[in-house]
Symmetry: C2
Subunit: 381 residues, 2 copies
């Protein structure tokens, strides 16, 4: 079975729910997907609800949206929203996965709202020839630990495991599926004759958590989905039918991909040498960082003379996305890099230390999460 829309050309940008490769042009995605840029005016509206604009908004890591303005209008008039995001449990979680989750946690705290988090073990089983349900269920469990480790509170965090919780989702998936024709699904997702019928149905299952809050509580509120932009086709088809079913259209806020440690492309679990996993041990982290792609020069002498290029450097992106929250210090690092004052070795050493410090704490929390994971399960509520 082939992945829909897979392209042969390695340089070409491909952004689908199943594949992201090539150099990603985010402005082009806004146009192609028909989403809205996050304007400074809109960011000011978000800032009003918090002390300081979140780093990921300030740095335009979240860069695009659908209906965030509508959600804020409703909120100002007293209609809350719920957050919804998720994860396809195909393997271990890497640092790139944590980016939107960290932002989601911030939004949950700021707006005091509920999060539905979907673990799509069924999807991962359907789209991969080699996957089996036992393994995808195991990764669901492992990935949930990473979510919980970030500090989400059980009272406001409802984790949905698709294969365990299908009974809660099923009637909504039927409502949705009845209103999406094969033709619409094919054009939205690039399905082909060889696509299996489970995959064809699956968009209805990803749609269901957008509407589950009403089913569970009776409250009709919109869902706001913080997620990487590759998932947008799902929300497009869901938005088209939401109102016919008596729900609000799901709103979204889209983030960029944290690049991998290689040259170009998002961090991907299928290239483990270019990804930092949350369970990586210090030596492995040091080694991966040490061999990472940077904007450095062939020799130290040359780099001291001409400086390096942080715009293509994977290490610099780590500071930018997560590990240097102080804007002044980040600018200083950039200046030293461009000026040849700080070489890649030093920059890598600093990052490896910061990463290992972060991971040590994360791994501690992840261990503790094992004792409380059931408190987050939607079935326990």
């Amino acid at each position: 079975m082939s992945v829909p829309n897979a392209e042969e050309n390695n340089n070409e940008m491909v952004v689908t729910p199943w594949e992201v490769k090539g150099e990603v042009d985010y402005q082009r995605l806004i146009k192609e997907f028909g989403t809205q840029p996050l304007t400074s005016q809109l960011l000011q509206r978000v800032e009003k609800h918090t002390d300081r604009l979140h780093l990921q908004l300030e740095r335009e890591i979240f860069f695009s949206h659908r209906d965030l303005d509508t959600v804020l209008d409703l909120y100002d008039k007293g209609t809350k929203f719920v957050l919804y995001t998720g994860r396809g449990p195909s393997g271990p979680v890497h640092i790139g996965h944590l980016v939107p989750w960290i932002f989601t946690l911030h939004m949950q705290k700021t707006f005091k709202t509920r999060l539905y988090f979907q673990l799509t073990d069924d999807e991962k089983y359907l789209i991969s020839d080699n996957a089996d349900l036992k393994t995808t269920a195991k990764w669901s469990y492992e990935n949930a630990l990473d979510l919980i480790a970030l500090g989400f509170k059980p009272e406001d965090t409802f984790i949905i495991y698709d294969t365990k919780d299908i009974d809660l989702l099923y009637s909504i998936t039927l409502e949705v599926a009845k209103r999406i024709t094969y033709s619409t699904a094919r054009s939205s997702f690039g399905f082909q004759d060889s696509t299996n019928i489970g995959w064809v149905y699956w968009p209805a299952i990803q749609a269901a958590p957008c509407f589950i809050h009403k089913k569970l509580t009776g409250e009709n509120v919109p869902a706001l989905i913080p997620a990487a932009i590759d998932q947008d086709p799902y929300w497009r088809v869901t938005r088209d039918i939401a109102q016919k079913l008596g729900y609000y259209k799901p709103a979204q806020i889209h983030c960029r991909f944290l690049p991998g440690l290689g040259a170009g492309g998002k961090m991907s679990a299928s290239m483990p040498e270019t990804s930092i996993f949350t369970t990586d041990q210090p030596d492995a982290v040091k080694k991966k960082i040490w061999t990472a792609f940077t904007g450095g020069k062939g020799t130290a002498a040359e780099q001291r003379k001409t400086g390096a290029d942080p715009t293509v450097c994977s290490i610099f992106q780590y500071y930018f996305f997560l590990f240097e929250q102080d804007n002044k210090k980040l600018s200083e690092r950039e200046r030293k890099c461009r000026g040849g004052e700080m070489l890649c070795g030093e920059c890598k050493k600093d990052l490896a230390e910061k990463l290992n410090e972060f991971l040590m704490k994360h791994q501690e929390c992840r261990e503790k999460a094992k004792d409380k994971i059931e408190q987050y399960h939607i079935k326990r509520k």
Copy 2:
């Protein structure tokens, strides 16, 4: 949304899981569907297990099969089988629906085996623009009462309500769906671009009960499906993938449709004036029988002279399918009809009496079924 494979020509035979119309040529169906005729040799093998060949086998109401011989081979060597049949709960049950259920009960008693009975409220919701889930769930309940009223015992009868029991079916549906391409589904079921994605997935849900026994008990045994032949496309795709998944291919035994009381076509709940429902009251039954299509002549005088034609008579079919179990008496009735000795009025009056007697008992049992329906629910086992 249009029904796949719907034909405009009214006389043409159309037999799909969603539509049966025109004059049904069963020999042609055996050829077109690629099934096997029930040979006398095979019937003798069944007869060995029972006192007398069941009326529906003797009269070739069940006329075709797939792998019944294999199931009997396995049975003789000590591998049992389970029975599986079901009902799409789109409305009330009529006498035509009872035909294969009565046979199924006989098979259950003869071979002392378990029955899985699927009520496909999800399908009925997906394929009809006007259906809602509350109504299809209500008909599931009502239709289950009719099944139970026939005398099935709770210890061997496991009723599956799709929307209630999806959690038991889901992992099997995923296994199945992953191995059916859209292309296969389209050619097997006539899906079109306008078909909704729920309908496209649905064959995987009808397949699941074929394999559920292994999931529940660990025993790998084949399923034998007594059902009308219009459902055959479902089993064709299921058979193609069964062995890859480690299951036996489901076997089938196919029955004819009880004709409606009009001229030609199967009894259909969408034409209530030509169907006898299990909840009909005596006066309604009398009226429907009175206006039924027969092979009679324009006047009594003419009919006395030239006789009538039982082969086109809907009333005669009722005797043949269910209400005259004595072959000699049936022949006698036919002789009198052809000879003009017995007119349609008398034949109708007899049938209305027999029908009302049957329905009175059935309705009593149906009332009693309300108190024990939960004992049959697969979730209660």
